[in-house]
Symmetry: C2
Subunit: 215 residues, 2 copies
């Protein structure tokens, strides 16, 4: 368990900024946007990353179907319009969590490139990291952890991504994790943590002066 | 600046729980739901409380018009239906922040009792604290910080709470701050912090065993 690093948190005029919160937390805030087919492993990997980060005292939070689809977005279905609105709202909530100083991870299929790019446009450079959880449809369908592919093939679920609705692969994702090649969740989550470490998200570089805050 | 208190944060099976996050933060998570007329001082007091808590190393975050109305809820207007949906979504986001371990404060007029009670019903006992920022309409109108009352009187804004739309006072708010009697923001914010302190939100009572987590 690492110690809280912030010792230079001082009162200043104006509201508390994200930079203030990053100093309090001792790490940077960022949105990791997991995208990929149903059954590719998005949520499982995100939850594992959350645990690994928590163990290091890092403030991380996962938004996924469990806490969004039955709450904030329970009024939305799976039509293209509703999927877009689903992603838009999740993007806005993720932005709030980044503003609050979190490493927030979102784990939704988010099949449309345009929707993901809109979320990216909401955030500043370096705040949005697209993590493509790549997996062939065959492997996803063989896994079928929730029995959804079976229902989609039987026509019981309409507009199912990969079967009866499109999935648009990311063009330039910041990170690709191929779970058809490697399906060990700890190894895959470790790759995400290693990425964050390499890019400097897990510490504050003191040479970067946070804007609008006293040092 | 207080030190991070959590030294007993251990890996356990299953996902990271709110109790885990509270131990990491060293304080409890709660939603302070500020309600009151436009100009009563909700947002100003909430932002001041946020600063006072931040100074003590407490993770607090304010949801208000600035970060919600132009983002998550930019598709909503001010009809009764849209106001209800506005409050519903804010309640769901507040719930996520509580789950993430925050002291989250929401600063919206939230004029309808039913909408506020619905948010209360989303949360567990002690997680939802209704803070009524009480102020006479005359004083709010005299302050008119954004010139909204003037526009409402001129008919330029329709459905303006207190003028042409109803405000339903809280029946049993956990805390009442009367800003027509006392308008010093630091004093009023201090009352909120004192309430949190008195109710034990700012520390962890070690006798309360968090559910589902190893100690």
């Amino acid at each position: 368990m690492r110690k809280q690093k912030a010792t230079n948190v001082h009162w200043h005029d104006g509201d508390i900024t994200r930079a203030d919160r990053e100093r309090l937390n001792g790490h940077r805030a960022v949105c990791l946007w997991f995208t990929g087919l149903s059954g590719s492993g998005k949520s499982t990997i995100a939850r594992e990353v959350e645990k690994m980060l928590f163990e290091r005292g890092i403030h991380a939070y996962v938004l996924d179907g469990d806490n969004i689809r039955h709450g904030l977005n329970k009024d939305l279905g799976f039509s293209p319009e509703d999927r877009s609105e689903n992603i838009r709202r999740i993007g806005e909530v993720a932005k709030l969590f980044v503003d609050a100083g979190f490493i927030v991870m979102t784990a939704f299929i988010s099949p449309y490139r345009r929707d993901r790019d809109r979320v990216r446009a909401l955030m500043r450079e370096g705040e949005f990291v697209e993590v493509y959880i790549k997996c062939t449809i065959d492997v996803c369908e063989a896994r079928d952890p929730k029995g959804l592919y079976k229902k989609a093939r039987a026509g019981e679920i309409k507009e199912f991504t990969g079967i009866s609705a499109p999935y648009e692969e990311p063009v330039r994702p910041e990170l690709v994790i191929d779970t058809s090649e490697e399906d060990d969740v700890r190894i895959n989550a470790g790759k995400v943590v290693a990425f964050l470490e390499a890019k400097g998200y897990l510490e504050l570089r003191e040479t970067v002066a946070p804007e609008g805050a006293q040092r």
